[in-house]
């Protein structure tokens, strides 16, 4: 029971079926507990349901059956406003693909999760600039995201996901469009986020070369979890203390 306090995200018997006529299920009775401070990789071939699972625990997609809990709260019983606040403040999300507003420059794109809530222009831009500096992107702040390389774009997406400093980070194939070297660079940044800022990380990938980064690797196939592998050496390094 002690451990329950540390579960930040939990999927309980989550089933997703896209069409009632078809037999195929995107997810079948998936249960997954994510503890605070963990680095989890959802791994599997494309079409195995790992991205669907991520979208469901982020609240973008509703499960056909089952429940998702964010801390103790049922994600799909939240009001629209609460869910918006989860997306704004509680969970950061980095998409695989280009996810920017083309009319806004890099700086303002990073500010997006701070827009429309009455936050002053200057203070949020200052914060965005800090994040860009940390990721060595400050010289691109006035450029438009579509003018940047794939790796730079992913770093901008990373900066944006950090602007409200959420404790949980989701990544959907963050290295999917990147070459090996840039991919490694981005992976190291994610690890740094996990280790130094103690953020919970859930990452979806089909690339086996990054599995060593995770505390836990969840292997998925045909909408089910088939195997779970703990990386104990890493657990020891960064997992949260269990007492208290």
């Amino acid at each position: 029971m002690e451990r329950e306090h540390y579960i930040v995200v939990e999927a309980r018997n989550v089933t997703k079926q896209y069409s009632s006529v078809s037999e195929s299920m995107a997810l079948k009775e998936v249960t997954l507990k994510i503890r605070s401070g963990e680095f989890i990789i959802l791994f599997g071939p494309s079409g195995c349901g790992k991205s669907t699972l991520l979208n469901i625990i982020y609240g973008l997609e509703r499960p056909t059956k089952g429940e998702v809990y964010l801390r103790e709260k049922k994600l799909f019983e939240m009001s629209e406003r609460e869910l918006d606040e989860v997306h704004r403040y509680k969970i950061g999300y980095v998409f695989q693909q280009f996810s920017f507003l083309r009319n806004l420059n890099v700086l303002d794109n990073v500010c997006l999760p701070k827009m429309f809530i009455g936050e002053p222009f200057n203070s949020r831009r200052k914060r965005a600039m800090q994040l860009l500096e940390e990721l060595h992107l400050d010289q691109f702040s006035r450029r438009y995201p579509q003018e940047l390389s794939g790796g730079q774009q992913q770093r901008v997406a990373l900066a944006r996901s950090q602007i409200n400093n959420p404790r949980i980070m989701f990544f959907d194939e963050p290295t999917g469009n990147l070459d090996k070297k840039t991919g490694l660079h981005v992976m190291n940044m994610i690890r740094k986020m996990n280790r130094h800022s103690k953020k919970t990380v859930v990452m979806v990938t089909h690339d086996p070369s990054y599995l060593d980064y995770a505390h836990r690797v969840i292997y998925m196939q045909d909408g089910q979890i088939i195997k779970e592998k703990n990386n104990h050496r890493l657990m020891f390094l960064t997992a949260p203390k269990e007492s208290k």
């Binding site: 918006d84 997306h87 009319n103 997006l112 827009m115």
Partner: protein, 397 residues
């Protein structure tokens, strides 16, 4: 809404600058529609002003001119009869005479119309006293028209004395062919705004003293209730006179203006309607183009209300821009037409007038009206935008 207003504006302006040409053309379409409405309103105001204040000043609207019919004449007793009629506020007698006038030194001699009446006549007739003042009774004063001044050598007549010889005709009812004369000096105290008829207006008493039996040429009456004008006309007709009311003419003219106004309104409404369809189309395209953007915004916690507000801000701004352009177009067109009319009027030597009249409230109303049109046009696209599901739009990009 208020908290994020700056951000909505910011985002919409970014959107506009990314689509400058389209935004401008959409605003221009609204502007042409709004501009034609604007022109219509100022045109109708201009016409009203022209009729009510230039052609017929307010005082004259409630007046009528009574003239003797073919077989009758107006004597003092029939004057009293008219003056006592229930709808008649005031009655002013007038006698039209012809005469000769010479200026101080007797240098210039001119044939001139002599209108013998009371000072009230000037008020009810609506002729403006351009210089000086109205004449007073029993003071030996007179008014002179600008046209009359041109007959004399001196351009400045105010304060000068005129020697006038009125020719009193033989009364048609008195078998007397002699033509008595009234001679005497009168002082010019005012100049009337009339360039066509050389005339002087003198005190009727002066004529009455010489020819007390002289019939009146007409009566000008002021009416207490113009809407009853037709009843009054009947009463006057019964005692054998004819009455012409300025109101009749204005009424006829207003009817014509109503048709013009209706025609223009229809054109304006059609124009605005087409422009609104165009704007609706633009908003829909803009929505489709930004489905993906909206999806990501929603995924990052931007609320449905914010998405709706972004689109409403956009449509309101397009409306406002359109209204602004419309006002500019309207002002430019009406200024051009006004000045060409003035130019033409000057060429033919008459006083110009404004065909279009601007009032600050029209400009304000136009602006508010176009913002409202923008907002209304934006409601549906905004609603659709807010319903975009983040996942769908991201997945199917």
């Amino acid at each position: 809404m208020i908290a994020g207003l700056i951000d909505y504006l910011f985002l919409v302006i970014k959107q506009f600058s990314a689509r400058k040409m389209r935004t401008f053309l959409t605003m221009l379409a609204i502007g042409v529609g709004v501009g034609s409405m604007f022109l219509l309103v100022s045109f109708v105001l201009g016409l009203q002003d022209l009729v009510l204040h230039r052609i017929a000043p307010v005082e004259t609207l409630s007046t009528a001119d009574i003239s003797p019919g073919n077989l009758s004449y107006i004597n003092d007793s029939s004057f009293e009869q008219v003056a006592k009629m229930p709808l008649v506020n005031a009655a002013v007698p007038i006698i039209y005479l012809s005469g000769q006038a010479s200026d101080d030194g007797g240098k210039a001699f001119a044939d001139i119309s002599v209108n013998a009446t009371t000072p009230d006549y000037i008020k009810y007739d609506g002729i403006a006293v351009k210089e000086g003042r109205n004449f007073q009774q029993g003071q030996g004063e007179c008014l002179i028209t600008r046209a009359a001044i041109q007959l004399f050598s001196e351009p400045e007549m105010l304060g000068k004395y005129l020697n006038i010889r009125e020719l009193i005709p033989a009364n048609s009812n008195i078998a007397n062919t002699s033509i008595p004369r009234v001679d005497g000096e009168v002082k010019v105290v005012g100049v009337l705004d009339n360039d066509e008829v050389p005339a002087v207006y003198i005190d009727i008493e002066k004529v009455k003293n010489v020819a007390p039996e002289l019939n009146l040429s007409g009566i000008k009456i002021s009416i207490s209730d113009v809407s009853q004008i037709n009843n009054l006309k009947e009463d006057i007709g019964e005692i054998g006179f004819e009455a012409d009311a300025v109101y009749d003419m204005v009424e006829e003219t207003s009817k014509l203006f109503n048709y013009i106004q209706a025609g223009f309104s229809l054109l304006g409404v059609i124009g605005l309607f087409v422009a609104t369809i165009g704007m609706f189309n633009t908003m829909t395209i803009s929505l489709l183009e930004r489905t993906r953007d909206i999806g990501y915004m929603r995924a990052f916690g931007v609320s449905k209300q914010s998405v709706r507000s972004i689109f409403l801000t956009e449509s309101a701004l397009i409306g406002m821009g359109g209204g602004f352009l419309g006002i500019v177009i309207g002002l430019i067109v009406s200024i051009i037409i006004n000045s060409s009319f003035r130019f033409l009027a000057l060429k033919v030597g008459s006083e110009g007038f404004d065909l279009f009249i601007f009032k600050w409230w029209i400009i304000l109303a136009t602006l508010i009206f176009s913002i409202l049109i923008g907002l209304i046009t934006g409601i549906y696209p905004a609603k659709r935008a807010s319903k975009i599901s983040p996942l769908e739009s991201i997945r199917y990009e």
